[in-house]
Symmetry: C2
Subunit: 213 residues, 2 copies
Amino acid sequence: MDLYSYFRSSASFRVRIALALKGLPYDYRGVHLVRNEQLDAPYAEISPQRLVPLLQDGDATLTQSLAIIEYLDEVHPEPALLPRDPLGRARVRSLALDIACEIHPLNNLRVLRYLVKELGASEDAKNAWYRHWVESGLEVVERRLAADAATGAFCHGDTPTLADCVLVPQIFNAQRFHCRLDHVPTVMRVFEACMARPAFQAAQPSSCPDAEA
Amino acid sequence: MDLYSYFRSSASFRVRIALALKGLPYDYRGVHLVRNEQLDAPYAEISPQRLVPLLQDGDATLTQSLAIIEYLDEVHPEPALLPRDPLGRARVRSLALDIACEIHPLNNLRVLRYLVKELGASEDAKNAWYRHWVESGLEVVERRLAADAATGAFCHGDTPTLADCVLVPQIFNAQRFHCRLDHVPTVMRVFEACMARPAFQAAQPSSCPDAEA
């Protein structure tokens, strides 16, 4: 398999975690988002979205991080990244979507660029926007994790799931942008449990071949 | 089952389509987003996100539209809203996420409010933002649908899937905000095929008990 990724892309980071948890080897193909490599050939010819991540598995091209992780879980079922029961699966997916739909889309590179270039947002206004969606979005995740007996050492039970694959990269982003995190203690406990695992360490930005200081 | 919904909420619309396609009866519980009913008791006590939709199925509370639809598909498998093969499932999920992660989160009510109230965006600037993400996002979906033999009468094959449940509400939004749609003919062909089906008609905003003119 070939994974097209950028070390700081949190959507790519999600897939790197899933691949590492399943012990699946892959070739890392760096796509430099800040240099806009995603917008031009050769990458633009294989990526309809001009986004990372993208996974090539034989002849198949897979896009969208959550769809890629579900695919990996169907084709390589062990260790499972979703529980077996429909309600548990729904809870894990919903937690993942609380981040993937409510927080991350507002804070990716092209959106921040639009705020600055088209709306004339100042650096301070841009950072306030970033922190607003991260801090309020993580508060939702905290409320859910803290209130539910299904939360274990990880977001759902005592093994990592899709929800943890999505949570951890969001915390990396939050820390990078100096977001408040003292209001989400359960989230941070789960984050620490994840980062104690070699798979999460191996997938983190600083471990990537294209990592920059 | 009880579905908490707002007639104009496109995330709610997705779930209404899935329920209608599967012929599942439910009680409609209106939550008026413009009046901020989602932010206060009693709804805020059951919704950790303060968002719609939310499905109550017996004692279980389900949130996030895509997670709800996957749950419905697992518990009530016929008619299937995902193909059987992992690559087909990945394609349908990825198309759904191209809308649910790349277009819709940028254009929901709370984001538009932030643009106006916090960033001082004018009505014109807000509408340009809206159209930018819809028009560029749908261009991605068009590129994918037009280029792939897996596209049929619907997004994937000749029966509606999760991807169609997500596509149709996005087109309703696009039309409401007068977005360009002449650059996405395959998308519009699929949209018309969907809207010819009674399930999509029954789920549309104007068919909801809380519909307004």
